[in-house]
Amino acid sequence: MVMVIMAIQLTGINRVVYAVLILNKAGGLIYQRDFNPGLQKLSSNDYLILAGTFHGQVSLASAARAQVHAITSQISPTNETTSSGLEVLESENFVMRCFQTLTGTKFLVFAEPRQPNLDVVVRRVYELYADYVMKNPFYQIEMPIRSEGFDRHLAAYIKPHQ
């Protein structure tokens, strides 16, 4: 997780949602877009590495419940048999919300620490994805998203007044 934090060093604080990333179920980065200045620019390769690392962390976190049950059962306050893995990562300068759908797709939203209702934001992004990406008959599932309609509606939702 150190890597994620280092990669997302903030250069300044102003507005709410910094970036949205979408990972397919294999951990590949299929969408990445910055909305507000605040995140350091990364090379596309770094983004891919970040996505892969994050995917690994989430998978580990959920797999650990089953495999290293002895350890995690001491850490975890509940006895649930399944865990969705890492969901929120907070630091002084940003908060990251991860939402994993039941199909395995992951939505990552980076935002200002005080941004409220991130889970609502991330669910809305999922709905836009279901509409403008999945319902486009020419979109190939699991492949990178290049959809003008999705871009437009996502921007309209996240930055309505700009």
Partner: protein, 192 residues
């Protein structure tokens, strides 16, 4: 989530979050797809069934995301009985405004039937009288593919097929769904 609250959820999604279109448009669009397939494949109804299933499969792979996003389901079903309940009360309800009856569970809980009292796809339909269609064509076979594709995306491999159809003169329209296995790995699926 109890069975009753699923019924409420399905009702609510259908009423408040589903865009509606004219039913005839759906019926006629689906009808022309099936009729064109029958024509193109020269009355090879086994192949028509297969193609319909394949189309449905590709729909299911995509539709599942809409289903999850709109229904706001975040919890996996605890068992296959729950899955059946969700398919009927939430899935069919929000997309077709019907709630097929769940019946005929087998003893190990891995197979059930959906009984369709009404089927919007089959309104106005009479199968051709060529001596074959009545015995070979499963008119609504796309639905089987949709279920197969959608469940595959949530880590369930199933087999779905019709065993009877009002259009063929049977007493019921019945689809049998069998759980083959739960898929463990998180590998990408191939688009057909």
């Amino acid at each position: 989530m109890s069975s009753a609250s699923r019924a409420r959820l399905g009702e609510e999604v259908w009423k408040t979050r589903t865009d509606k279109i004219n039913a005839e448009l759906v019926t006629l669009t689906y009808g022309s797809v099936v009729a064109q397939l029958c024509k193109d494949l020269d009355g090879d109804y086994a192949e028509v069934n297969k193609q319909l299933d394949k189309m449905g499969y590709n729909i299911g792979l995509r539709l599942i995301e809409d289903f999850l996003a709109k229904s706001n389901m975040q919890q996996k079903c605890a068992n296959f009985r729950d899955t059946a309940d969700v398919i009927s009360k939430v899935g069919f309800k929000m997309f077709l405004n019907i709630t097929p009856t769940i019946a005929n569970w087998n003893s190990d809980g891995k197979q059930f039937s959906l009984l369709f009292d009404e089927n919007p796809l089959a309104d106005f339909v009479e199968l051709p009288d060529d001596g074959k269609a009545q015995a070979e064509l499963w008119y609504s076979n796309m639905l089987c593919g949709v279920i197969r594709g959608a469940l595959e995306m949530v880590q369930m491999q199933v087999d779905a097929h019709f065993v009877s159809d009002l259009l063929r003169g049977h007493d019921t329209t019945e689809m049998k769904i069998t759980l083959v296995r739960y898929i463990d790995d998180e590998l990408p699926q191939d688009d057909e």
